[in-house]
């Protein structure tokens, strides 16, 4: 299984800047950010509040466009993609975990985990169901497949969201403070599961976190201060 270093970068940012313009006021947020994330890496992004972490993650997740610079995903430049192309890229290549689980209340746990597959089509969904059941089992929700999200605890809901982010077999999962809304214990469980699933599936993870303990357990930490990369040291040597 691929861990760090060798292999083509899953995502590469080259000279990415972002300036928000609203009502004529320019707010520069990111300055000349460049880094690459290799296949199978588990990367933590840390930095103070307002330093631009979410902005960076949104750009990596094709939810936002950089003001300057280029983003390559699996070697392809994504700057020229139109909205439909970006949606297609998110659907096929990317997984998301947010601070809130945003599970759909009309669907049960298994259906929610399979939601990215539902978007891709019934044939794809049918092919992933077995795997998703196994993953839900792995995160300890094997007996809650038919439950509605409202019947789960916050930690359990976030575990479903973690499994859901892997439904479309993404090349890269982007997680924005996935434990930010959980108590320490549940946060720990969710983080450990993310690490386990990342390792088991070989999926690349980029996670924004405020928790230094979690960051230190990542393969690499990218530290951001005022929109600039301060440090992108490797934490654990392979």
């Amino acid at each position: 299984m691929q861990r760090t270093g060798n292999g083509p970068p899953v995502i590469e940012l080259a000279g990415v800047s972002k300036t928000y313009v609203s009502a004529g006021v320019e707010t520069p947020v990111l300055f000349d950010v460049s880094f690459r994330v290799n296949c199978g890496e588990f990367v933590a992004i840390v930095g103070g509040s307002g330093s631009g972490k979410t902005t960076l993650l949104n750009i990596m997740g094709l939810l936002d466009r950089p003001s300057a610079g280029k983003v390559h995903i699996a070697g392809d430049e994504v700057g020229n993609l139109d909205e439909l192309g970006r949606a297609g890229m998110r659907r096929d290549r990317l997984g998301f975990i947010f601070q809130f689980h945003y599970l759909l209340p009309e669907f049960d746990v298994l259906e929610n985990a399979l939601m990215p597959c539902r978007i891709k089509g019934p044939a794809f969904q049918a092919g992933q169901e077995r795997r998703m059941r196994d993953l839900l089992d792995l995160v300890g929700l094997g007996d809650k497949l038919k439950n509605r999200p409202a019947q789960l605890s916050g930690g359990q809901q976030q575990r479903v969201a973690v499994v859901r982010s892997l439904a479309n077999n993404p090349a890269l999962v982007l997680a924005d403070e996935p434990t930010g809304n959980l108590d320490t214990r549940s946060g720990r469980v969710v983080f450990d599961l993310m690490r386990t699933l990342a390792r088991e599936s070989g999926t690349t993870f980029v996670m924004v976190t405020h928790d230094d303990d979690f960051a230190l357990e990542a393969d690499r930490v990218i530290r951001i201060r005022d929109g600039r990369i301060e440090d992108s040291a490797r934490t654990i040597q392979p």
Binding site: Y102, P116, R118
Partner: protein, 416 residues
């Protein structure tokens, strides 16, 4: 629009999850569809009855000899240097205008797909004598088989018969019979406008409920009337019944153009009836449009609430790669389904109510039990009501759907 497993299943799940709201909206649509079907049918039936009463005693269209009114030479437009006429105006007596070549026109009339019955009529004023008493009547000679399909005499007979009328028979209205103390098989004399006399026997007495028919009208065979009125082989008019009596004016105009007759429709003779029906139609349509618009607002408001309530979930679906068109389609499908289900409830309910209504009977003329309402369920009306409701549902869904499609996942993620 994109109909896929994803859009359809999410739409269905939304409706099922919010089943209370869905049922309420379906109910609103059902009521408006029911109103359309029910009101249009009952009003249509009432209107048919009214027009039927009016046209029951007269043909939809009467073809008469074209009036050729002479115009004085001095009435012609004059210019400078035009001749000057000296003279006086004389009123010439107008004879009975007649149609001599009617046999030649019958096949063409009968071939017209709009026309259902063609009946040659010889009619004129005559005096009816019974002993010393004398009464002015309208003597109408008809081919009974044909004319009965324009003016129902046979089924309104109190005594005797109409269809088997032969030379020397006369069929009269009940009021005339009562006023004159006439009974079946009584012998009467008719004197035509030219002094021609005809002895007749009463072969039938009818009561149609129309004063015009029951009082002053006597029916005899076409041939008897022709000799009484000294028409020879000519007739005085042709009565025509058409498929759709609302089209009488249009058909009449077309006939007047293609044939050498003046064509008078029942509408021309009863402009008030027609106007009243038109006004009634407009009122009903206003009511129906209002209810269907209300149903549209119902659908729009439930979907607006739904979109607002699912703002985050929609944003996340978009982050996961659902396209704006897919998100839009979810809500358009919901509007479509709400309207469709509303029709599925409203149309059978409307039909059921109409069926109940059509079974209501009350004693009619002559004490017979007859249906009170003239109910004819038009499949096109059902299809039209469904079409209107579904269109309104989809249009109403369109605006909330577009809003949903435009939700920016970034805003959701930033929690604003």
């Amino acid at each position: 629009m994109k109909l896929s497993f994803f859009t359809l299943s999410v739409a269905l799940r939304h409706l099922r999850y919010g089943v209370g709201q869905s049922l309420l909206t379906i109910g609103v649509v059902a009521i408006s569809v029911l109103l359309i079907v029910y009101l249009r049918t009952t009003i249509g039936g009432t209107q048919r009855s009214i027009v039927g009463n009016v046209t029951g005693s007269i043909p939809h269209i009467v073809l008469e000899p074209a009036e050729r009114t002479p115009v004085g030479a001095w009435r012609l437009p004059a210019g400078p240097g035009a001749p000057l006429y000296v003279g006086e105006t004389v009123n010439l007596p107008r004879g009975i205008d007649s149609i001599d070549d009617w046999r030649q026109w019958l096949p063409a009339l009968e071939a017209d797909p709009e026309i259902t019955v063609v009946s040659p009529v010889a009619t004129g004023n005559a005096f009816l004598f019974r002993g010393a008493r004398r009464e002015s009547v309208r003597a109408t000679g008809v081919l009974a088989e044909r004319h009965d399909r324009i003016v129902s005499v046979e089924e309104n007979l109190l005594e005797g018969n109409f269809l088997q009328m032969v030379t020397g028979d006369v069929v009269i209205g009940t009021r005339l019979a009562r006023d004159f103390g006439i009974r079946m098989r009584d012998k009467l004399r008719l004197i035509g406008p030219g002094g021609q006399a005809l002895s007749v026997t009463v072969a039938g007495i009818y009561e149609t409920g129309s004063g015009q028919l029951d009082d002053g009208q006597v029916f005899l065979t076409l041939r008897d009337a022709q000799s009484l009125l000294e028409l020879g082989s000519a007739i005085s008019s042709i009565g025509v019944r058409i498929r759709d009596f609302y089209q009488a004016e249009v058909t009449a105009r077309a006939l007047a153009v293609s044939m050498p007759f003046r064509a008078r429709s029942w509408i021309e003779d009863n402009p008030n009836v027609f106007r009243t029906l038109g006004a009634q139609d407009q009122t009903i349509n206003m009511v129906l449009i209002s209810t269907i618009v209300a149903a549209g607002f119902g659908i729009a408001s439930i979907l607006i609430m739904s979109v607002t309530g699912k703002y985050r979930e929609i944003g996340i679906l978009k982050a996961m790669g659902a396209t704006p068109v897919e998100i839009q389609s979810i809500f358009v499908v919901e509007g479509f389904l709400l309207a469709l289900l509303g029709c599925a409830v409203g149309i059978p309910a409307g039909i059921g109510m109409l069926e109940m209504l059509s079974n209501v009977r009350a004693p009619g003329p002559g004490g017979r039990l007859t249906p009170v309402f003239n109910i004819q369920i038009d499949p096109w009306l059902l299809a039209g009501a469904a079409g209107v409701a579904i269109t309104v549902g989809v249009v109403a869904a369109f605006f909330p759907a577009r809003r949903a499609g435009g939700i920016d996942p970034m805003q959701v993620i930033r929690g604003s």
